[in-house]
Symmetry: C2
Subunit: 508 residues, 2 copies
């Protein structure tokens, strides 16, 4: 028995990836053999590709043949060009397809979740305690601790717990503009998240981020779902904690009335994340997650791709897949915003493959970015959202976020994600609350070394497990975790410090 | 007996402040009576002031008479100008004085502190656990909790505890430049702080803020004082926590060898802070704290003024007091930096008195800023420091920080402050670790309402307690708290979330 030494990322591709150094004559696929040495993790042609024809990897265009290429030939800089026409042409919606539907043999999937009054569905039944400002961060921690210490939650087995969400912002900032709006959307996105049956918002009192203003902006009425208080009005820290604990205790019977029930997978909103990528990310975990994302989209669910610095310069990948010019243009607009954002902060965006990337087999910026974009699958792009904006479209969508894991995930969760998959090659330990995070190792060595933090090993894709099988495995774990099975980071108790709203503006 | 209805802020002043509405004829000082009605919190002349002569409040110039003013006259916009010549002239070092020395009758003061190997002195004997990145924030919390839960600290009564310092940064940022340097200085300032006998730095492994690089930058050798580990190298969260707990346990005997001993007050470095100011801040708590700061400076100690947005436009207050042109120029330079910083972030600096400020008796930008600057006293400015830079001069110094309380205090502590005084009118609940915070209420009502959070009531200055007496009270509390007496925020347990390094750059 011979171990397969190449990896096919998509049936439409005209290249496969070498999973080991391939000497001349190594069998590739069918009759194709390597016509010259192909280094590990580089591409080899499986069909004749004539000059000017697209090179397809992940089913998507990563460049064009700069000369005729024969089957079995190493495909890299010497015979691939980005294509100047391509670079200039966003080809808005050129590859848009009709609404995704179940494939023959696929059946509707369900999870056990919580239906909320606003029509959305939760995967957890938490009570949230938010702070309007860092000045009340310690108080929200104390309220949660006091409830936990009291033992009262033992009487409410249908409540998943109390989640305190301290953060660093809320004052020393302008009271209007982009930075304020981002914080405002994030706070409201969490306060109204379907994984919270109810939330308590605790302020100091004199901060820039005023609770009464937030209530007015989002038309929030205090009641069973939402309560607030400030330390200054209550008369200090101890009294505020006491008042907060009393408010939470009043919420418990209401929150405990929520019970899990079968809900269509179309109600799942999957945040796609990666952090600590390695050379395997684009070959194993990311494309396998892409398979799962496509499955979810066919079920009518939502898959949210983010991390704009990783698509920068390769926005053509998404503009082509946009369902309309309008949706595609939003991608172009946010790329322009990032140029301005990094320039004004004295930096610059650069996502081009480095010499190390090229040595590792990444030929073009499109190919490099596809390593990350692959986790979004191949579905048509249905919407583009600002950071922490409420996501109101089903299907594959994009949310603008930084690449930095806690900040990116915070935006996606604020937008309504109720499940999160996180691929990692170096070994991220990320976990957030109130949304469970499923962590996918890109390689066997990492999985073995950090098994207690990793939910799924995608390293075996290199050993021959198909991306389709791995994608199905991920999809099933998504349903299990959405239904209440604890992810590794939940078992470890993560989620105390991972609420990190994007701080865009000046700290004053 | 008549209650005094005016407040003299400095013996040199030619005005006093009305603490109540003063009808015509109200006795002011000596023979002086109000020649017309003076509204509460406004200024009244106590001496003849000829046109062009400076108006002095807090002993400092707040403007110039635009017409001759007679004793008992209301001093406000109609008879005060900023003086264009003054505005254009920084008058570097015009009011510099020789090194401050003890006054007749003053004796050297001491506190009970911890002498450290690097020659500095601590006011607490903590072990610190820092995270290099948000990805290891939860791990540092767990290490601290596990040590606390184990009960092992019961065997070490000379150790004040374990302080975990999670934060939100460390990755998704440029690996060089201003933002990186600020984080780097802050981390090292805490890791080497004299209130920590030893510190453990925990990373994830693949973050931008690399531990090996920090060790190289600051020439840190691992040993009894400093240890590090990463989650990725250790094999995941649980093992990293286990390894961290083991390292802390090894540190305990070394840390417990530190004992309090009498140390000169010249080793105290006092961070001056205000947050949630009100109309009383500039009349009671701030000038009283200024008296205490001057006392400390005469003892050979250090007093650190900060919060640049509050001196913006009134930098003349500090340039005149600078000990040299070079020191004064640094103030001017950082004002220019703030212009650039806020402009690039789409905002602007504006510290001018608002209509509400003017109605409240604040006539000029100098006077408004002096309300905050007053807490720095009247000593000569000996040095100007960047955010989180190690403070290496004694006397009155300035550190550039935002006004936002947790960020400002984090910079001062990183610079080496070992005691902090925080004035508040609205009622801040701030408390940080490892440096104790003493909170000063500006008014009686606040002190009564939030007594459990307030260490000192300065509201009684309005009732007739002199600023000198109040300043002495503050100075004595500083010595007590520096010697181990717990401040209110320490009793409440603050310090879990208040380590907030200034995030200056783009999040990517
Ligand atoms: Ca990534
Ligand atoms: Ca990321
Ligand atoms: Ca915490
Ligand atoms: Ca202030
Ligand atoms: Ca402040």
């Amino acid at each position: 028995m011979t171990v397969k030494k190449t990896l096919r990322l998509n049936p439409q591709d005209n290249v496969v990836v070498a999973t080991a150094d391939l000497p001349t004559g190594t069998p590739i696929e069918g009759d194709v053999v390597a016509v010259a040495r192909v280094p590990r993790s580089h591409k080899v042609a499986t069909r004749p590709i004539t000059k000017g024809e697209p090179i397809r990897k992940f089913g998507q265009i990563i460049g064009f043949a700069s000369t005729d290429i024969i089957p079995g030939e190493w495909v890299h800089e010497k015979n691939v060009t980005m294509g100047e026409d391509f670079e200039r042409d966003y080809a808005f919606a050129a590859e848009a397809r009709p609404k995704e539907i179940l494939l023959p043999g696929e059946t509707p999937a369900f999870f056990e979740g919580f239906r909320r009054a606003d029509g959305r569905s939760g995967t957890r039944n938490f009570i949230g305690i938010l702070s309007s400002v860092n000045c009340s961060a310690t108080a929200v921690d104390y309220i949660a601790e006091e409830i936990n210490r009291s033992g009262i939650l033992d009487d409410y087995p249908d409540i998943d717990g109390i989640v305190a969400l301290p953060h660093s912002q809320g004052c020393g900032m302008a009271g209007k503009g982009e930075a304020f709006d981002v914080l405002s959307r994030t706070q409201w996105g969490y306060a109204s998240h379907p994984n919270f049956a109810a939330t308590l918002l605790v302020g100091l009192g004199c901060e820039v981020f005023q609770i009464p203003r937030m209530k007015e902006t989002y038309q929030i009425a205090e009641g069973e779902h939402f309560q607030s208080l400030t330390i200054q009005e209550t008369g200090g820290t101890r009294k505020a904690v006491e008042a907060g604990v009393a408010k939470i205790k009043e919420m418990l019977p209401f929150v405990a009335r929520s019970r899990r029930e079968p809900i269509s997978a179309s109600e799942l909103s999957l945040a796609l994340q990666c952090g600590g990528s390695d050379g395997y990310s684009g070959l194993t975990a990311n494309p396998a997650l892409g398979v799962a994302a496509d499955m979810l989209v066919r079920q009518g669910g939502t898959a949210i791709l983010s991390e704009t610095p990783e698509i920068y310069g390769a926005e053509h990948l998404l503009t082509r897949r946009a369902e309309s010019v309008e949706v595609g243009q939003k991608i172009v607009d946010l790329i322009a915003w990032w140029d301005e954002y990094t320039t004004r902060n004295g930096g610059e965006m650069n996502n081009n493959p480095s010499p190390g990337n090229k040595a590792g087999g990444l030929t073009t910026i499109l190919e490099k970015s596809l390593g990350a974009v692959a986790k979004g699958g191949n579905s048509t792009l249905r919407g583009v959202y600002r950071y922490a904006e409420r996501i109101d479209r089903k299907g594959f969508v994009y949310m603008d976020t930084p690449g930095y894991d806690p900040v990116a995930a915070t935006g996606q969760v604020a937008g309504g994600a109720n499940i999160l998959c996180f691929t990692t090659g170096r070994g991220s330990a990320y976990g957030g609350k109130p949304v469970p995070s499923i962590k996918l190792a890109t390689n066997n060595e990492l999985y073995a070394r950090m098994t207690e933090d990793m939910d799924i090993n995608c390293g075996d894709v290199i050993d021959g497990v198909s991306l389709e099988d791995k994608g199905r495995e991920i999809f099933n774990v998504i349903l299990d975790v959405a239904s209440g099975k604890k992810s590794k980071s939940e078992l470890l108790g993560y989620g105390r410090h991972e609420f990190v709203p994007w701080q865009i503006g000046a700290v004053m």
